[in-house]
């Protein structure tokens, strides 16, 4: 198997065995990026020097006879919403163009400490607001399955990089589905951890009660290995949960044995049917049948308030974003426009934000401003938070009957670039299946489950709070039983 097509687990084993050096592995991926990224455009910034020197450090550690971490020397692509000391970090926005953070996010530190080699920063919808990566202020990213289509979003650069063999691993963030939906439409694995399981310190905030970073990989095991590196309590994040990391690697290995006897799988009635593409539903139904074939007991569950998740989310997330993005005030970092002695501070702020933010960010800031205004607060934001409680209660009731819940990850396969940009609601509907777990803070994974019209479909597996390992166990069992979806990705012509 070529270096770029190897799994992260295989690469780490070969590097540890001295069969290949970390520098050779890094160089092979940098070469791949040089060859295909002009077409895929997954990266906003490639740090070849940094990658090679991090790889060299791993090789030196090994030469000194020291023990290497489970992913030492394995390359990774980092979503540009995660701050990286000295490396450009824009969150896909012009307002942060050229900014180099003075510190590392906790997950950046953990990744570096694990000997993982960061190749660069990946493209995304501006401030993680979007489902297609078309809202990037820089350029769209192209789906490696079909370059005329979107790679999902907001973590579309991270999903495309892994699907295009530019990196075996990447980091995404998921506020309403921004890891799971890109994973689904590019045929890879992506997991949104339990809210609070992975530190948010150093994530540029969008919606603080929902934002959660998580791993992408081409296999369930690779994804689990990265999950264990980034998860765990962090005193720098006051919402970090002081609990042990879920045993996700063990669960992935255990699940790969393909035995799901004793596992109750709940099919969520409200997350299928009208509005879902027929090919997506066919792949999903076949996946559920496969789980039954592996010994799982399949039951139907009803979560009546999931129907309102879209409305609740598109009030809560914009409200929190209108507050979070107030920090972009043209004073401490980033762009400043109109500072010519003729404009007041307030005018400079308004001019800067007008030029620095794209249309979707402006829309969400204004929706949030409206929803939080006196006279509207109770009817919009307050009511949405009550719906959030009801959604969490639906989950609690469903988890009485089932150990995991399943649904399609997205109602659609990847759509064409430009198809939905003019209609915000047509874009928001992408998040239909992923929003309930975001609002409840529960973990959920997307694992490839076949093709529809030659494009990947994702199976979403949801578990209760802090039971992330259940997602990995069921996903690994399913993965072991089927032909890998990525085996049929067309070769990129470069």
């Amino acid at each position: 198997m070529s270096l770029i097509r190897s799994s992260a687990a295989e690469l780490a084993a070969r590097i540890a065995a001295g069969d290949v050096t970390a520098v050779e592995v890094a160089q092979a991926h940098l070469d791949r990026i040089d060859a295909v990224d002009p077409s895929v455009k997954a990266f906003l910034h490639v740090d070849a020097d940094g990658a090679l020197s991090a790889a060299k450090a791993v090789d030196d550690t090994r030469a000194a006879g020291e023990r290497l971490g489970a992913l030492a020397g394995v390359p990774l692509a980092m979503k540009d919403v995660v701050v990286t000391k000295g490396l450009p970090t824009t969150a896909g926005s012009k307002i942060l163009e050229g900014w180099r953070p003075p510190y590392d996010a906790t997950i950046t530190t953990r990744i570096k400490d694990a000997g993982i080699v960061m190749l660069g920063k990946t493209n995304m919808d501006e401030f993680a607001m979007g489902s297609s990566t078309e809202n990037s202020a820089y350029h769209p990213t192209h789906n490696p399955w079909d370059l005329s289509r979107i790679p999902g979003g907001s973590s579309g650069g991270s999903s495309a990089a892994v699907a295009a063999f530019e990196a075996p691993l990447s980091i995404g963030t998921d506020t309403g589905g921004s890891i799971r939906q890109p994973a689904a439409v590019t045929g890879i694995v992506g997991h949104k951890p339990t809210y609070g399981a992975v530190s948010r310190y150093g994530l540029i905030a969008f919606s603080s009660s929902l934002d959660q970073a998580g791993p992408f990989g081409r296999t369930v095991l690779d994804t689990a290995l990265l999950h264990e590196v980034i998860a765990g309590y962090d005193p720098c994040d006051s919402t970090s949960i002081p609990a042990p990391v879920a045993p996700v690697v063990e669960a992935a290995r255990d699940g790969a044995r393909g035995d799901l006897r004793g596992v109750r799988v709940g099919v969520v009635r409200e997350l299928s049917g009208d509005g879902y593409q027929a090919g997506v539903l066919a792949a999903y139904d076949a996946a559920v049948a496969q789980l039954r074939g592996l010994g799982a007991e399949v039951v139907e569950v009803s979560c009546p308030h999931f129907t309102y998740a879209l409305a609740a989310y598109y009030l809560i997330a914009p409200s929190e974003c209108s507050s979070n993005l107030a920090r972009f005030d043209a004073v401490r970092y980033g762009l400043r426009v109109g500072d010519d002695g003729q404009h007041s501070l307030e005018e400079v702020m308004s001019l800067t934000r007008e030029v620095g933010f794209g249309p979707e960010v402006k829309r969400r800031i204004m929706i949030g401003t409206y929803a939080l205004s006196a006279g509207y607060y109770d009817a919009y934001y307050g009511q949405a938070q009550k719906v959030r409680t009801l959604i969490a209660q639906d989950f609690a009731a469903a988890f009485e009957k089932a150990d995991v819940l399943v649904s399609p990850t997205s109602p659609f396969v990847a759509f064409g670039i430009g198809e939905r940009v003019a209609d915000p609601m047509a874009m928001y509907i992408n998040d239909l299946c992923t929003l309930p777990a975001s609002l409840a803070g529960t973990p959920a994974i997307s694992v490839p489950c076949g093709l529809s019209e030659g494009l990947p479909v994702g199976l979403q597996i949801m578990a209760p709070t802090l039971a992330d390992e259940r997602c990995y166990r069921v996903a690994a069992a399913y993965e072991a039983a089927v032909t890998p979806v990525l085996a049929s990705i067309p070769e990129l012509t470069v």
Binding site: P102, T239, Y333, G334, H343, S344, Y370
Partner: protein, 113 residues
Amino acid sequence: MSDIPTAAPPAATAESRLSRADVAHLAQLARLAVTDEELNLFAEQLSVILGAVAQVSEVAAADIPPTTHAVPLTNVLRADVVVASLEREAVLAGAPSVEDDKFRVPKILTEEA
């Protein structure tokens, strides 16, 4: 929290439509110097979005407590110990304008003030 100058009732309804003046006011509150063209576009788009999210009002939830956060952690405090913070130079390096080791900003007070 500011009042929005519309005659709309204080309940989410699918008919919540925003005028150009409403959008201009929201933009002012949010410190966005929107263009004339954007006023038209956003009035249309924001009205559609608000109409859709007003669906939350269909849910009977009068006696349901709100969820502000999925994790019920409150009053997380750290030990009151002085720790190192970022170097001033490193912080100011990212600023758009710096003077005398400080963030420089345009004038805040007008002459009449």
